[in-house]
């Protein structure tokens, strides 16, 4: 196996393209090196992305945040304002593994590993995050929900990498939250996960919302019905029950050792409802 630590995006794209898919991008390595060890993958080489400035930094400007795809969970948590503006996204990223995994694991790796249960993905979908991708044919921007095509599969072209995530500056009365259910407090894979972000007007009525669901389908899902259910209403009572019912209806989970499909269908509704309540409280509703 070859190892290359590149300093620029151009070098990374060039090197990955030249290897024609036989080399993999390496961020924190918490999926890649574990899978390699388990014999599930055997790349001929890896290109270490952690030293590329755009992937390693968090920039805040008038358009909002650009969060480098290789920024670790620990670094996300240390940022002075990101956790106030997007607490749900930071919480979700910080649920990945344990403190000792947090020093390495990135949201770019979480997304590109393309697990249906990836924790940061539903929160990023809820936040309306855009992915800035750079590849042999230049740069393009896609919503996070369009990246994962199925378990372990993304829409990235050979040689293409996620450079950063773009998160808007939240409005004055906005909030987000991510909740996942696991049988213990850490170091387990989500039974279900739900991310919600919403905005309220001065009267506490919802003016916009997005919901992302994890571990209930082959890919993390965006719940499009959420908008029609919540907008123009208070985030309470039967509106929340309707949201829960819509989340349950959208779920197409499987049975596995963590839970039955039936259980996941029920619980994803509960998680969506509770995440919406937290997001609304954070929005000041």
């Amino acid at each position: 196996m070859q190892y290359q630590a590149v300093q620029t995006l151009e070098e990374a794209v060039e090197s990955l393209s030249r290897a024609g898919g036989e080399h993999l991008p390496l961020a924190g390595g918490t999926d890649l090196l574990a899978q390699r060890r388990a014999g599930r993958i055997d790349p001929k080489g890896v290109v270490d992305l952690k030293r590329i400035p755009e992937l390693a930094e968090i920039v805040l400007d008038d358009d909002g945040y650009r969060v480098g795809a290789a920024v670790s969970g620990a670094e996300l948590g240390e940022h002075p304002t990101l956790g106030q503006d997007w607490p749900g996204v930071v919480e979700a990223a910080q649920l990945i593994g344990s403190t000792q995994i947090q020093g390495r694991a990135s949201m770019g790796g979480n997304l590109c590993n393309a697990s249906p249960a990836a924790d940061s993905v539903p929160a990023l979908i809820a936040a309306g995050a855009l992915c800035s991708l750079v590849g042999p044919s230049g740069r393009r921007e896609l919503p996070v929900e369009e990246i994962i095509l199925g378990p372990g599969q993304t829409c990235l072209a050979p040689g293409e990498i996620v450079a950063h995530f773009r998160l808007p500056r939240p409005g004055p009365r906005a909030g987000d939250a991510y909740l996942r259910l696991i049988p213990r407090t850490e170091m387990d894979i989500a039974v279900v996960g739900a991310g919600v972000s919403l905005e309220l007007d001065a009267d506490g009525l919802c003016t916009g919302c997005r919901v992302g669901l994890g571990a209930v389908a082959p890919t993390p899902l965006r719940l499009d019905e959420a908008q029609a259910i919540l907008v123009g209403r208070r985030v309470e009572g039967s509106v929340l029950d309707d949201l829960a019912a819509a989340a349950s209806a959208a779920a197409q989970p499987i049975d596995d050792m963590r839970a039955t499909a039936e259980y996941r269908v029920r619980v994803v509704g509960v998680m969506a409802k509770r995440a919406a309540q937290i997001a609304a409280t954070r929005a000041g509703g």
Binding site: G103, R184, T185
Partner: protein
Amino acid sequence: MASEQPQQGGIRLKVRVNGEQHESVVDPRMNLADYLREELRLTATHVGCEHGVCGICNVLVDGQTVRSCLMLAVQVDGKEVLTVEGLAEGGKLHPIQEAFIEEHGLQCGFCTGGFMMAICELFDRNPSPSEEEIKEVVGGQICRCTGYNAILRSVQNAAAKMGASRS
């Protein structure tokens, strides 16, 4: 080691481990745990699950806990690594080590080094962690003998010792 020519596909690595500078040529697929154990003979870093789950192989890289089984040795080029061997100074055990002895924070001891490194980082961030904060860090580590209560007491004892030596 420093004079050796890079072998086929080998990569030159310069790293400070426990304050000492090392220069090696390593196979790029060698992980950090194997490098520490096999090249540097620092065998206090134990290897458990080799999938990042158990935390036995924790070391600090630039002050941050990492699973050394989930990092390639070449990735620590130019960095500072601390292993269990680096905890004691001048033959005197680190307060964390003393506390584990006093509170019986180990039985078989296989996982203990990994716990100590995680706790070492915790104290760097937060010298007087609450029980909840300790549990969060310890929750990322697997010990199959102690039942964790003795480990929790060890961490609290260590925090007290280190607090006392500061004031």
